[in-house]
Structure formats: structure tokens, C-alpha cells
């Protein structure tokens, strides 16, 4: 975040340049669904004055198309700003565009969409990860001061951060207001940040965090200036390495790179040890059950009646809704609506939906127990290096869902995480995930920043 804020160039010029460069990047890697042609430097000389910010397309921006990656919302111009957008605008930031994603966040590779599919700047034949793939893409490709606002439900910030070699901060559930976020799974959705420096993520979080009367699930805990955790000492910091996160399903080279970094942290004063989170294998199925149950209700409202995709009105309302939804939703959205509707059905609710809720409670308890002993946990971010689009096509839905094996547990438990780039494998980016207790983002910033300056 240099440039305008340090007075070398004018804010107006820096925004103009950011938009022009974004258009060039769009041609090569398609990180955007919409580029804000009307982007202008702010008149507010706040903490983000002159900064170009990209926003994941499931976050409402007043007057700027918001589709959540879905054709069913194509052309939808929200009449209001999400609370986090209001906050960054009040600090002088400018939105340069809306970034590509899996439809409604349903995916790990940003390919489940009928709109834009972002390509990895490290290798354009590979994915940027998902669902916030566009945010990872533009963060990696931007050669101008930029920070991305993104969102994670089950790992949608960590995955693109790991695959694009950027930093992805997923805050505690409830830390940042969800007002204005197009819902995927309301009990797990979290707005967060992708950037290239820990400082940028810490500053952005300090601005967007805090209680919002419009979001009853936003925490009333006082917000903090997270930049105060920069340059802290790691002496006495206890870090756990949960063995389930270094299991056979994870690329051994990735596991090794992450373990090496644990050793580095030890040399910086932290104390690392192996530990266990035995409920981890249950995270994926219960995460998906909760997510699809909630998602299938959230998606009910899209029927071509009040906004978004509309068709000629013929037949009765059932026939009309069916026509719009058949065309507007992609395959993965349809799969999740059907799965979710099934999991909620009479006779199955107890077996699936309620059981999943109980497992989530167990997983939260297990994390809470671990954080009595440890200040943070360290794991790989993703089990693989970014796959090629041609390989993704051959994955079954289940194999696809298992890509989230390292991110679903902390995400469903509402624990904050940060993904930091570590040594590459085969020349491709690899990420390390740091997990902290709820509302202890400070611990993440502390460790990540020390790691950043020492790596």
C-alpha cells in the first residue's frame, strides 16, 4: 500500500492506473466479473485513501453489478452497500472491480460458474483455487497497490491464497458483519481479506471488523487495531501441529515444507509440538451437510420475480420459477439445492442435518480444548498444488469436496485462520495455514508477520 498514500503520485492517477492495469490483467487471467469503469479516487483521506480494492462478487456494492458468480443474478445492481464496503469507502478506498468466484461460493477451483473463470498467474492452465479465485488471481497479478475483500465459508480464502502464493486472512465467524453478503451458509460465512503483506491484511481487518446492528450474528466484542500485533516477539508462543492435517491425503512435499516452517518458527522462539484433533475426519461430511442445508434455503429466493434473470411470463408461477431456475443455476448449484433439500426432508433431518450440527459442536469443543494449551495451530493450507483445469474436469464431486479437507474444520468451527505462502513445489505456490482460537486474530498476525519478515 505504497503510492498515493505516501504522496508520490496523486490518488486520482493511481486509481486510473489500477483500473487500466486491471483491464490488462483481465485479458490474461480473467480475475473479474465486473471492472468498475467509473472507479474514482475517494475524497475521503482516511486510512485507505487512494487504495484500489477488489471485492468478491458475492458482496453487495451499491450501483455496481453483484452476481455472486451466478447467471441467475446477472444484471443485478444492489441498492445498498454491504457494511464492510461502507466501512472501506469511509476510509477512502476505491472499488476497482468485482472478482470471479464459484457460483454462490460452491467450489474450490472457481470453475463452477457460467461467468468468468480466473486463471492462475503462476500457470494459466491451472486454477487459482476457490471459491474466491478471482480475489487470489488479482492479488497475485496486481502490480499496483491493492487489497482484495473476499469471503470464506469452508476454505474459500485459504484455497486461493495457497494456490496463488498470496496471504489470505479468514477472521472469526461474527468478527466482520455479513450484512450485504449474498448468503451461502449463514452460520459459516465470513468476510475476510487477501493481500501481499501481513500489514495490509491486519489494517484491512481492523477497518472492516466490529459489531453491526444490521447483522445479529456479528460479535459485540470491541474491535481492535490489529496492526499492533505486527513486530511482536514469539517467545513463549506455543504452536501445535495436528497430525491429522499431515496425513496421507496430503502431498508429502507440501507437508515437509510446512514442517520446515515450523522449525523456523521454533528458531524464532516459538515452541512447536505434534498434537491430535481426532474429530477431523468428520468435518467434511458434516460441513457439507450444514452448508447445503442452509444453501438450499438461501437459494430459494432466486426465481426471476424481483431481481436478476427474468424470462417471459408464461404458465403458472411454479412453471415460471422452474424455467428461471433451470437456466439460471449451474450444475453444482443444482446439486447442492437437491442435496440440501434432501438433508432437510422429514425422516432425514435427524439423520443428517441435526447430526451434522452435533458434530460441529464436537469439533468446536475439540478446538477450544486445544487452544487451552496452544496459541495457534499450523497445518498445510491445501493438500495439493494448484491442479490443471484439464485434471479438475475428471474429479468426481466427492474428490472435489475432499480438497477442502484441511480447511473445513476450522471454518465450520468459526476459528480464524491465515494462509501464508511457503516454499514452492514444482514451481507452484504452496500455503501454510495458521489457526487460532475464536477472536484471537492477534495471534495469527503476530506469528504470520514474524514469519513474513524472517522467511
Amino acid at each position: 500500500m505504497r503510492g498515493a498514500r505516501e504522496g508520490s503520485i496523486s490518488a486520482a492517477d493511481s486509481i486510473k492506473e489500477a483500473v487500466a492495469k486491471s483491464k490488462e490483467i483481465q485479458k490474461k487471467y480473467s480475475p473479474f466479473i465486473t471492472i468498475n469503469e467509473k472507479a474514482e479516487a475517494s475524497r475521503t483521506k482516511g486510512r485507505l485513501y487512494g487504495l484500489a480494492v477488489s471485492v468478491k462478487d458475492n458482496i453487495c456494492t451499491k450501483g455496481l453489478q453483484t452476481t455472486a458468480g451466478s447467471k441467475i443474478l446477472e444484471g443485478y445492481i444492489p441498492p445498498f452497500d454491504a457494511t464492510c464496503i461502507e466501512k472501506i469507502k469511509n476510509e477512502g478506498a476505491t472499488i476497482i472491480g468485482k472478482t470471479a468466484q464459484d457460483e454462490f461460493g460452491f467450489g474450490t477451483f472457481s470453475v463452477n460458474t457460467q461467468l468468468s473463470i480466473p486463471k492462475n498467474p503462476s500457470d494459466a492452465e491451472r486454477t487459482c483455487g476457490g471459491s474466491s479465485g478471482g480475489a487470489g488471481c488479482i492479488t497475485a497479478a496486481a502490480d499496483f497497490p491493492h487489497v482484495a475483500i473476499a469471503e470464506s465459508t469452508g476454505g474459500s480464502i485459504t484455497a486461493p491464497a495457497a494456490f496463488t502464493g498470496t496471504i489470505g486472512l479468514t477472521p472469526t465467524y461474527g468478527r466482520v458483519s455479513r450484512y450485504g453478503l449474498v448468503d451461502y451458509s449463514n452460520s459459516m460465512d465470513k468476510i475476510g481479506v487477501l493481500g501481499n503483506r501481513v500489514h495490509d491484511c491486519a489494517l484491512m481487518l481492523s477497518i472492516i471488523a466490529g459489531h453491526d446492528p444490521l447483522d445479529s450474528t456479528s460479535s459485540e466484542l470491541p474491535t481492535e487495531d490489529f496492526t499492533k500485533y505486527l513486530n511482536a516477539d514469539l517467545k513463549g508462543v506455543k504452536i501445535g501441529l495436528p497430525k491429522e492435517y499431515f496425513s496421507e491425503g496430503v502431498d508429502k512435499r507440501i507437508s515437509k515444507n510446512v514442517r520446515d516452517k515450523a522449525a523456523l518458527l521454533e528458531s524464532l522462539g516459538a515452541k512447536c509440538e505434534e498434537m491430535s484433533l481426532p474429530s477431523t475426519p468428520y468435518a467434511i461430511p458434516s460441513y457439507y451437510l450444514i452448508a447445503v442445508s442452509e444453501a438450499s434455503t438461501n437459494l430459494a429466493k432466486y426465481c426471476g420475480l424481483r431481481y436478476g434473470l427474468q424470462k417471459d411470463i408464461t404458465g403458472n408461477f411454479d412453471e415460471y420459477f422452474t424455467k428461471v431456475r433451470t437456466e439460471g443455476f449451474g450444475e453444482e448449484a443444482k446439486r447442492r439445492i437437491i442435496l440440501g433439500t434432501f438433508a432437510r426432508m422429514a425422516g432425514f433431518r435427524d439423520k443428517y442435518y441435526f447430526k451434522a450440527l452435533r458434530i460441529r459442536a464436537t469439533i468446536i469443543k475439540e478446538f477450544k480444548q486445544a487452544f487451552k494449551k496452544y496459541d495457534a495451530l499450523i497445518t498445510p493450507s491445501m493438500p495439493v498444488v494448484p491442479p490443471k483445469f484439464s485434471d479438475i474436469k475428471n474429479l468426481t464431486p466427492l474428490q472435489n469436496y475432499y480438497m477442502d479437507i484441511l480447511t473445513t474444520a476450522p471454518n465450520m468451527a468459526g476459528m480464524p485462520t491465515i494462509s501464508m505462502p511457503v516454499e514452492k513445489v514444482d514451481g507452484l505456490p504452496v500455503g501454510m495455514q495458521i489457526i487460532a482460537d475464536q477472536f484471537k486474530e492477534g495471534n495469527l498476525i503476530k506469528i504470520a508477520h514474524k514469519f513474513e519478515v524472517s522467511a
Binding site: G180, S216, T297, K301, R344
Partner: protein, 468 residues
Amino acid sequence: MSVMIGLEVHVQLNTESKLFCSDSVDTRNKAPNENTCPICLGFPGSKPKLNKKVIDYALMTGLALGCRIPEESFMSRKIYFYPDLAKNYQISQYESPLVGEGYMNLPDLKIRIRRIHIEEDPAKLVHVGGDITSAEYVLIDYNRSGIPLMEIVTEPDFTTPKQARQFLEKLSSILEHLNVYDASKEMSLRVDANVSINGGERIEVKNITGFENVEKALNFEIIRQSGMARMEVKIEREVRHFDAETGTTKGLRKKEYEEDYGYVFDPDLPIIKVDRAWVEKIKSSMPELPDQRVKRFTSQYKLNEYTASVLIYTDKHLADFYEECCKLYKDPIVVANWTTNELQKSLNWRSERINDSKVKPKTFVELLELIDSNVITERYAKELIKEYVDTGTSPKELAKKSIVKLSKKDIESAVKQALDKNKKAVEEIKSGKTESLQFLIGQVLTLTKKQADPKEIKALILEMLKKQ
């Protein structure tokens, strides 16, 4: 034949703002879809925020009906696709209602309350070119979307439609005394009534407004179902629509079961925690309830229980009016008789409620005072009250305008006139036919524009006949 009736009563609560947003609940004088915002239109990204006042109102109602108040409850999503639902799900309560079991006492009958929960009202559908089953197309007005509804569910404890009506009247009075709903607003209280006969499948008649209509719909259903039973036609679980014009019900669709709605917790809304302090606070601020008020009326105004109940259960504001009049007039029993009889009749004739009428305590007691001071007769007062209710003009003024109390001489000449004109009747009276005496009294009353006292007329007729 055994009949089982259960009610689900939906009451629009008269909070200031809607259940989840800050739009007003008052949609009168608003253009269609004017009274909306991204929240009650279910726009992407909007989130509901629970209006605490709604909880207060539901708790008050629960306490008034002797209900159990659970410490925790939560909101759920009830999912079904229908154009009146902005989100294609309704935020309601399922597993855990805000208020648990309670009861209401009716004369000779105790009705059990199963639960009371809160939910959002859907939009209003305007059927164009037909009714719900035959409309050409439908217009949607979301002004109503998100108005807080309280749903009171009874056990199937009613055995007659009349009891259901009594329950609704008493419930409405309780709600008015609590000041949680506005009875004068159209559609502010809607009833789904379940009826089954001889332990068979239950039929649900949906969305009935008006207590009389509930009674009519239930009577129709009982006749219809018992007819089917006689013909040995199987009664199947079904939702029906009541047509107020014809007083009949029509089949709408097969009834789905509640568990088929695929309920999930609404993850945007935290668990509602009602601690003891909250309940105590509401208890201590509860206004006087109808049953307590009936007791007070019997002791304070020496009314019998029946008259007190009529005053209080007909319309809370009628009871308020009565009490105001008692402050201005000496005899509460006279006020009660006039209020429950002649005044209520005239209001009913105009389909008015006391609060919307031109009747005011100060002018109303004038009428009673005019009778007391013999300026007008009681019989004439019963005529005059109609004009008073129509115009609101003070009875003193009205009495001045018309011919006030006739002199004895005037009445005598009227009697004479009547006797001369009706020779045949006179003969009949002489031969002992009393009906003819009544006839003659009637004639004199007409001649005196009902301002003479019938007793006086009778005496005069008999006197004159003796002389003849």
C-alpha cells in the same frame, strides 16, 4: 356425531415497525410496494433483525393465557415456493415456539392453548379477473411482507362453531386490553380452522376473517362433511378456502404435513433467550385483563356478570366508553342498559365500532339526562339515538329541533282522532278483543310521532271509551 374443532389464529401485532426491518406496520394510505426495503423484499445480502417489541407482545399474550414461557426459543425457516413470500421461505418458529402451553376459560369449557409463536406476514396477493382458484393473473403488494404475526394455536377442544366464535371474541378482547393489536384494521386477525367429524381426517379452512365468518365456515364444513359421511364418501385431508359471499368452502389443495416444509434454524438470527427478569418485568407491566375487569364491573358498577361481559368482550373500547360515561352520569346500570342495547344496536346497524363513531360520552349521557328530566320519553329517546349515532349532533340539539313532549291535550286530540277513524276497532274493544286495543295504541303513537307514552295513551283510550 362427534365434532372436533381446533383454531390457528394469526394476529398482526401493532408494533411500530415490522418484524425484521424498520418499515412501518401501518400500510394504510400507502401505494403498493411503497412500504418496503431490501430486508422485507428479501434482497440478496439483506439480513433480518428481530424486533424485540414483538417478543414483548407475544410474552404478554402468553402470560394473559396462563402459558408456559420457555427460557429459549429460536426462529426457523419454513420453505415453500409461493409468490407472496419474498424469500420463498417464511421466517417462523417450529420446534421451539416463544410461548408454550396455556388455556382460556369459556363459560362451561376450558380451551387448551398448544403454543404461541411469531412469524412474518407474507405479501398481499391481489387476484385479478377471478378469485384464488380462477384469477387470470396476480399482483403482489409487499407492503404487508414482514409485518409481525403472532400465531395462537389451540388444541382441538371445541365441539361447536359457536364455541369457536366465543373463543375468538374473548381472545380479541384480551389482545385489545393488552393493546397488542388493532381490531379496526382489515385482515388484522385471520383464522385457520381445523374440523374433523367422528374422528376422521381433518379439513383445514384457511384464512378466514371475521368471527361470524368463522362460525359460518365451520357450520358449512360440518354439514358438508356429515353429508359426505352419510353418503359414505371418504373424507381426505385437505385445505379449503372460505368464500364469504356464498358462505361455502371450496377445495384448494391436498394438505401437506408440517414436517414436509424442510425446516432449518434461521442461522441469521441468534437464539432468543427470555430470562426470568424479562418475564417478571412484563408481568409487572400487564394491564387489567378482561376477566379481572368483569369482576371489577360487577362490584364497582353493580352490573350482573352477563352485562359486564357483553360490555367487555364485545369491544374493549365499548367498555372504556362505558366507564367514561359512568364518570358523568349517576346510574351505571342505566348506562349499561343503554350502551349494550340501543347504542350497540345503532352502531351495528351502521357497522361501526364505538371508536370510529361520532358517539362521545359527554353527548351520550345528555340523552339519558333528557329522559330523566322528562324532556323526552324513553320511547322517543330510542328513536332519537339513531339520528344521534348517524350525525353525532348533541341529543339536546336534536330534541330542541323536534317537537318536544306533547301536552295532555295534544294526546287527547290524537286519541279522539284515532277513535273516530277506527269505529270497527272501537266496537271490537267493547266486545272484549284486546288486540284491537293494541292496534289503537299503535295508531295514536303514529299520530304523535311516537312521542306519547303508550301507558298514557292506553289510559286515555279506556277513559274515552267509558264516556262513549
